[in-house]
Structures are given as structure tokens and as C-alpha cells.
Point group: C2
DNA sequence: GTGAAAGCGCTAACAG
DNA sequence: CTGTTAGCGCTTTCAC
């Protein structure tokens, strides 16, 4: 049943050559005769030889594995990013060790420790809601293991980042609502310790300021952007004396639920209240009216992050030469926010 | 900058004891004095010692890592399953090596090879659309590495499976439509080489047969269940002479898009055509009308699969004692299929 | 309860 | 172009 594992020593003995030659041949070392190479490769295949990566890693101190820490796996955006990362990593012969922080810094620290102990060659992180400290990443930095943040990033001189221009996206979304004649716009955001939400909020503010509109703090709601939050926002709007005529929610699923709830309460989407979401989640296309949103290039972000990481590791880029890559995002205008013609 | 890695030899030297004792203490070996244990643990923590997993794996031939191969990472269902797996694995100190087959058997084989070379302790797989051969998994079996299938499974005497009762779910969904008075029900399915689609179809057929309704092959559409497919199905229905009055689509996102398209073409959902989806994707709750669907316990499936795998590995279950675990799924009735009252 | 010593399978000087 | 040799850091018999 249990077949015996065959090693380079077995191959060496059978072929009457040295293990070193076998090792070199298998690694396609230039100094080895092409004939011996193919001879060895053949025999290896025949006997079902597989390299013992641990022995190899033990020597080389490289694992060919990247750690990835994300807040949650089960969001459309994140799984799209991961899909992009996986594709690139796979092409370059790297593996991915994936774990989720479940939006908790504590868990994130534990994940980071596991990654560290697993001796990943590099770490890609999108931080949790409540992460404050950089501490759990500094162990990597001090051992020269590259750390790259994507989407929800931390600011650190030695870490690259891959993001979209959230400020501009927030500005565009808000400006669109202003263009539609909205004058009382509510913004539903997440934890503003996170760049993605903070910057969207800044963009929101800049757009209002551009029209000399006052900033009403009552109209800025910090939530967890869950579906539940969407329902609560709708209930709150329903109760308000002076209702907003525009609504910019930093997450599609939350926005979709909120829109649904508002409709049930008798509000007319677009006419009464124009709505813009964020992410271009599949959900945004199947709600009615279809949801105006910001296209968020998740797959591209994953590919870019991984490419950057590999580039850094293979020395194309110096490891302490951090860089910030900004991907293009784009406002997608759909029916939920079209009011022109109502005037 | 680059801190030196500290080993059990360093600890041994500093504490003037043998490396063997350090190793045993760190692994909580019973034969070691509690005092020496804590002394060693303390020093280890102080110096930032981390176990070199490769050296350890090289000796023990265990990796504490499971491989997971899924068709795609970026589906709500799959990422939910993965989230469940990750939680359990993490609790038991295992890591996850995740890769996607992108619905291609070729890629799946490559993934399996990588997993094999990475010497995963076990493999969890949900197979691709077009997978026919078991070949790429038999290498695992012959080396006694447990292989467990979940959701999209293969039949093999030595592999456990975790699934829902797709036949029953298909039956329930169809029966519900029949209960609503539908007599001409269309079923949109995926590749019927896959158990999940084949069984739902069987349930569909059984429900019709229970009412002595004829089986019209024109009303069974095999598609890839994409959003695009949803649009095509709607177009096709729109063109039909005798239109179906019920529609059972084996995927929520596809169903949601189809429903949307039908509405735009002027068809009345529920009244003209009652619709049932599958998966309880978030999308199903935000479309209007809300979509009747089958709740698919993804998180639970991930947890169960992982628990089973770990149980098998730790010897609770004999490895060649395959088992089939069937999780409960549940029809969730919403507005898209309610016609009672229209008569 | 602790130590000595061998070896897991591979790679990389170094030597020829 | 190929071989010799010495570890990588850990676990684990076998002693004491």
C-alpha cells in the first residue's frame, strides 16, 4: 500500500552517479551535461520521484510560499482579489497560505505569527477593521521578509501598497449625486481608521466643499457596512425630519439592502433619494433599480499585488524601496441615481 | 538589520542543557520536569525563538498543512466554505494551501501535483466542471494521504464526501413550484457530470413524476449557470410559444439576472412565471421580488469537511473507511415564487 | 528526568 | 562537467 518515497540518493545509486549531480540536474543547473540531465529526469519520472521540499527549504531557507491575510474570505471583493493573486503566484511556482482575521486585530496577530513560523517568503495583508498596531508585522520587516499591503493598508516606509484612489472615487461618487441635483447627501461609511473609508469620506467632503455646501455631521454615519447596517440606515432615514436626497454608501451589499428597505417604506429610489454604492459587487446589477457604484478592480489588484511581491523578492525591486501603486477605479452610473429629468 | 535566527542549540547552550531536552520541553513532552519546561519556554520567548518547521517536518514527515482545491475562489458559496474550513483548521493548528482549478481538469491536475509535492497531510477537493478522471488523486490514495471531496464530489471507495442532499433539494424546489400551481416548469442546470447538478435534476424529475406530469426535454437547459446564461435563458423564454409558468435555476446569481431580464421584457415574476434559485446567495435577498431559494450551508460544510479530515488524520476514523456526510439544506420561500391567491 | 548521537533529504562550497 | 563533504535544525532511539 504505502509506497516508499524515493530520494536523490536512490536515483544516484541506480544511475551510479553522485547525489550532487542528481540534485543539480533536477534543478536544471547549467553546468550539467544535457544528456545526464535527461537521463536523470527520465529515471526520476519513472520511479515517481518527488523532491522533498522540506529538506530543500531547510537548506535554502526559502519556502516558495506567500502568506496572505485578509479580513474575510467570503466577500466577493476579497475572493476576487485572491483569485487574481493565486493566478500570478501559481504561474511563478509559488504557493499561497491564506488566512482570515475576521476583522479582529488579535486574530490578525495570531495569523501573522503562524505565517512567520511557516517562514513564508513574503506577506500580503489587507488589515482588519480594528488594527492599530504595526507590531505584528515588524518581525517580518526586521528579518527582511517583504510585507505588502493591499486595499486596507498601513503606512510604513518599508512596505509597498496597492490601492485604488479612494479619495477620488469618493469625490466622483459624491459629485455625481451633486450633478443629479442632490443637495442633502448622506454618507454611510465604515471604520475611518481604515484608509479606504477615511479617504472616501475625504472625497465626499471635498465634493461638498466644491459646491460650498455645508458639512452636516448628522449626515455622516459610521457603521460596519453589514446588511443589518443597511436596514438600520433605512429606518433612520425614514424617521428623519429633513430627509437626505442623496445617499452614498461605501459598500454595495449594504447599499442594496438599504435601498430595498427604503423602497418597502415607500420611498422612491432616485426620485426621492438617489443612491450610490461601492465595489461593483454582482449584487449591484441585479437589484432594481440597478445600483450606481464604483468599479473596484479586485482581480487586477490581486494580480498587481502578487506581481509586485514577486518582483521585490526576485530583486527587481529593492526590498526597502517601498512604493504605492494606485489602480484605476471607475464610477458606473446606473438607474439608482439618475434624477435628471425629474426637474 | 537581519536578526539571527535562534535555534534549540542556542537555547541549550545558554541554559547549559542538551538540545534534546529543549526539544522535548518545547513539545511539552511528559517526561520533562515542569520547572525546566517553564525555564526553557521563558528563555525561548525572551529570545524570540521560533521552531523551524522544515527541520521538524523533515523528521516527522508531517506538514500540518492541508491542500484545498476549489473550482473558483470568487464565488460567495466557495469563499464561505473556505471560511469555515479555515476556522477549524486554524483551531487545530493546521494551515491551508488553497488553489483554484478555474473549472478545468488540466489545472486541477496541476494543482493536485503541487499539493502532492508540498506534501500536504490531506487534500480537500471540490472538482471542476469537466473533471472525468480520478487519476490525479490516486497518487494521494496510494500514499495513504486522505482525500476528502465536498460539494462537487467524486465517487471513490476510499474518499469521504460532504454534500447536501441535492436530489431532495431539487425535489423540494420543484414541489414548491407545483404547489403554487405551476404545470410547465423549466429547469436550468449546470454540467450534469457533476453530482450537484445531476441530483438536483433527478429531484426535479421525481417531483414532476409524482404529479404525473410529462417530462419535456425542451424544458431542461444545460448551461454554465453564469450571469450571461441567465440573460440567455430569459431571451429564450421570451421567444417561446408555450412559455413555462415555473422556473427552477440551480444558481442564485444566474436566477437573479434571469429574473431581472424577464421583468424588463414585461413578464410578471411569480404571476406569469414563478422562480426558484439555489444557494441562498446574498443576491437572493436584495432582488425584487426576493428570490425563493435553497439554503446551502456553506460555512457548515467547510467546518464539517475540515473536522472530518482532521478526525481521519488523528486516527479517530480509519483512513480507508470512507463515509458520506449529508448536510441539511432548506427551501427558503420568498416572493419570487408565491402565486397562491392568483387563482 | 536528561544527554549523546544519528539521520531526515537536500544543497553548496570546494576540489578535481 | 562531476564528486566529496559538511551541514540546515529538529526529533528520537538508546543509554544512563
Amino acid at each position: 500500500m504505502m509506497e516508499k518515497e524515493i530520494t536523490i540518493y536512490d536515483l544516484a545509486k541506480i544511475l551510479a552517479i553522485s547525489p550532487a549531480t542528481v540534485s543539480r540536474a533536477l534543478n536544471d543547473h547549467p553546468a550539467i551535461n544535457a544528456k545526464t540531465k535527461s537521463l536523470i529526469a527520465e529515471k526520476a519520472a519513472e520511479l515517481g520521484y518527488r523532491s522533498n521540499t522540506f529538506a530543500s527549504h531547510l537548506r535554502t531557507r526559502k519556502t516558495n510560499t506567500f502568506g496572505v491575510i485578509v479580513p474575510r474570505l467570503n466577500s466577493n471583493f476579497m475572493s476576487t482579489v485572491l483569485a487574481g493573486m493565486e493566478e500570478v503566484a501559481n504561474n511563478f511556482g509559488y504557493n499561497l497560505l491564506i488566512s482570515q482575521s475576521l476583522e479582529s486585530e488579535i486574530k490578525e496577530q495570531a495569523n501573522a505569527r503562524t505565517m512567520f513560523n511557516s517562514r513564508v517568503d513574503g506577506l500580503l495583508v489587507s488589515v482588519a477593521y480594528d488594527t492599530e498596531s504595526f507590531e505584528h508585522f515588524s518581525t517580518f520587516i526586521s528579518r527582511n521578509i517583504p510585507v505588502l499591503f493591499f486595499d486596507r493598508v498601513m503606512d510604513h516606509p518599508q512596505c509597498g501598497t496597492v490601492v485604488i484612489d479612494n479619495e477620488q472615487a469618493g469625490y466622483d461618487a459624491t459629485s455625481h449625486l451633486l450633478d443629479q441635483g442632490c443637495r442633502r447627501i448622506m454618507h454611510v461609511t465604515g471604520d475611518t481608521r481604515r484608509n479606504v473609508y477615511a479617504h472616501r469620506l475625504e472625497g465626499f467632503k471635498r465634493a461638498l466643499a466644491g459646491q460650498n455646501l455645508p458639512l452636516d455631521n448628522q449626515l455622516i454615519l459610521q457603521t460596519d457596512l453589514s446588511q443589518e447596517a443597511g436596514r438600520m440606515v433605512a429606518a433612520q432615514i425614514d424617521q428623519m425630519q429633513e430627509k437626505p436626497d442623496g445617499l452614498f454608501i461605501a459598500n454595495d451589499l449594504c447599499a442594496a439592502v438599504c435601498m430595498q428597505a427604503l423602497k418597502e417604506m415607500g420611498h422612491l429610489v432616485a426620485a426621492d433619494i438617489a443612491i450610490v454604492g461601492f465595489n461593483n459587487d454582482p449584487v449591484s446589477q441585479v437589484v432594481s433599480p440597478q445600483l450606481t457604484t464604483v468599479y473596484y478592480p479586485g482581480y487586477q489588484m490581486g494580480k498587481t499585488a502578487m506581481t509586485t511581491m514577486i518582483g521585490q523578492l526576485t530583486g527587481t525591486k529593492s526590498p526597502d524601496n517601498s512604493e504605492a501603486i494606485i489602480l484605476r477605479s471607475e464610477l458606473i452610473i446606473r438607474r439608482s441615481s439618475i434624477r435628471v429629468g425629474d426637474f
